[in-house]
């Protein structure tokens, strides 16, 4: 998609070139900048200028490897540069899983991409067909999937609900249509639609 965008006009392709092929000097590092480190695309999580009064200047960066999810700190000299990574976040619709790959579609272009097990990570626990997800593409391949913060999923399996028990206290496991198992209050019944916070995996309410 990035490429489509780039070839649209000469002017835009110039922008595309500058954004994606640039080497960023350390003084232009900022939170959210995507760069290549040792062959992997990484995102800058925190950037700090460090300079003792009489010493050399450095830029200390907390990096997140977008493939492995590992975060660590790296220190750059003031004359060091980092190569920009062609990474972009796109809103896409989840289509289906073929047992091996998870398929997503760009609702504007209808272009489809397939994410493997590594890219999907834990996100598969919260996917429901036609839900919107944030798909991170590197060189147009999905490397990570972020489900919406809240999703609504149906309970497909749980112990029978305790009638009238809507007060606090007690919880039980419930299996959702996506396959995830979450702790829910005792009154929840099979067939209920639940609102789940995907960041914590916690039950929020009945939808």
């Amino acid at each position: 998609m990035c490429v489509n965008f780039a070839v649209a006009t000469d002017h835009l392709s110039l922008i595309y070139f500058e954004i994606n092929m640039a080497n960023y000097p350390s003084n232009q590092f900022k939170n959210g900048l995507k760069v290549m480190i040792e062959g992997d695309p990484c995102s800058m999580v925190d950037v700090e200028f460090v300079k003792p009064g009489k010493g050399q200047a450095f830029t200390r960066v907390k990096l997140k490897n977008l493939i492995t999810g590992r975060t660590w700190e790296r220190t750059f000299k003031s004359n060091e540069t980092a190569e920009g990574a062609d990474v972009m976040d796109t809103d896409m619709e989840y289509l289906y899983c073929d047992g091996e790959m998870w398929h997503f579609m760009d609702p504007q272009s209808y272009e489809q991409v397939a994410a493997d097990k590594t890219a999907i990570g834990d996100a598969h626990l919260w996917l429901k067909e036609q839900d919107k997800c944030l798909v991170t593409l590197w060189d147009n391949n999905p490397i990570s999937i972020t489900p919406p913060n809240f999703v609504e999923l149906e309970v497909v399996e749980t112990d029978p609900g305790l009638k009238g028990d809507t007060a606090q206290g007690g919880s039980k496991p419930a299996k959702l249509q996506s396959g995830a198992v979450v702790r829910v209050p005792l009154f929840i019944e099979q067939g209920d639609i639940l609102k789940i916070d995907t960041r914590s995996g916690d039950y929020v309410s009945r939808a």
Binding site: N27, E48, F49, V50, K51, P52, G53, K54, G55, Q56, A57, F58, R60, W72, E73, R74, T75, F76, K77, S78, E80
Partner: protein, 323 residues
């Protein structure tokens, strides 16, 4: 409409900043230290290789006879010329300028508080720094530790024995950095700023003294208790923030000229900009600088610590990106 016009510092912070300035002036008035002003636009530049001076241009006639001037990075040279002129104890609150220094604790144009005490050594000056800074930041427990002890304690490194290669290896254990360097001080600074300083964060206020002689800058050198040559220099770290840098000042003009020469050589070796060094300072020292100690405090950082903020733009009304 963009919000770029607006002050980043809350007005309440600016009021507190003004109060702290008044408190500083009262402190020095009571101690009979004279407030002075020296030029911001100077004909020579600082020699420290890693301080990059900002240049400006003076024209006696529009667009003609251009003279390069340098925005001062510290009032040190000029204040020493006043001391050598017979000023006695002096202090100054002024703007200082440094290329490229922009970040959470840095603004390329910042405010410096600097003072000189004839008849003091650096230990007496540490006492005075404590007396000034303590009430402002609400600390009364100031620790003192030598640079060598700091490296022994936090990194198990014996500075007398350690080689540059061992320092590089020790640094790489703690920090992911792509650096090849045979300059010992660069490794020491990296360990200091990346490994030790953050650990000083929960130590309150800490004076570090007896710096390596190679980091003497404008301080005299002397033998420490273990017989090693050290710089009579101290720095104050508060909550892990480098706040003050002080010297028992070098008064030997010839040695000063030699150190300028060393800095020029290092700049040449590393391909750093070469600028005229201050012959007037050398002349002043040769004419006679009284025995004295001097210290500089980053005023913006002092206000940050007093207010408990993490970002210099909380205490500077209009920082660099809004200047």
């Amino acid at each position: 409409m963009s919000e770029q016009w607006r002050a980043t510092a809350p007005i309440e912070n600016l009021r507190r900043r003004a109060e702290i300035l008044a408190q500083i002036r009262a402190f020095f008035a009571e101690r009979k230290v004279l407030e002075v002003e020296t030029p911001l636009m100077t004909s020579s530049a600082v020699s420290d290789p890693y301080i990059d001076t900002i240049e400006c241009r003076y024209h006696p006639l529009p667009r003609q006879q251009e003279q390069v001037r340098y925005l001062q990075s510290s009032p040190e040279y000029a204040m020493k010329r006043l001391l050598a002129s017979g000023s006695g104890a002096i202090y100054q609150v002024c703007k200082a300028f440094r290329n490229g220094e922009c970040g959470r604790r840095h603004n390329p144009e910042f405010t410096m508080l600097e003072w000189y005490r004839p008849g003091f050594d650096h230990y007496q000056l540490m006492d005075e720094v404590e007396a000034l800074v303590g009430p402002i930041i609400g600390f009364d427990d100031f620790k003192r530790i030598s640079y060598a002890e700091l490296f022994r304690q936090y990194l198990q490194i014996d500075l007398q024995a350690v080689t540059v290669a061992e320092l590089a290896a020790a640094t790489r254990q703690h920090i992911d950095v792509q650096m090849e360097d045979d300059n010992r001080d660069n490794w020491l600074n990296l360990l200091m700023s990346h490994v030790i300083e953050p650990q000083l964060a929960d130590q309150g206020a800490v004076f570090v003294y007896d710096y390596p002689a190679s980091q003497a800058a404008l301080a005299r050198t002397a033998l420490d208790a273990e017989g090693g040559l050290v710089a009579c220099r101290f720095e104050l770290f508060v909550a892990g923030v480098e706040l003050a840098n002080g010297y028992f000042e070098l008064t030997d003009g010839d040695e000063q000229a030699r150190r300028f020469q060393q800095d020029i050589q290092q700049r040449q070796t590393e391909g750093l900009p070469l600028r005229p060094t201050d012959q007037l300072l050398v002349d002043a020292l040769q004419s006679g600088l009284p025995e004295c100690a001097g210290v500089a405090i980053g005023l913006d950082r002092l206000v940050m610590l007093a207010l408990g903020t993490q970002n210099i733009s909380d205490v500077i009304a209009l920082p660099f990106d809004r200047a």
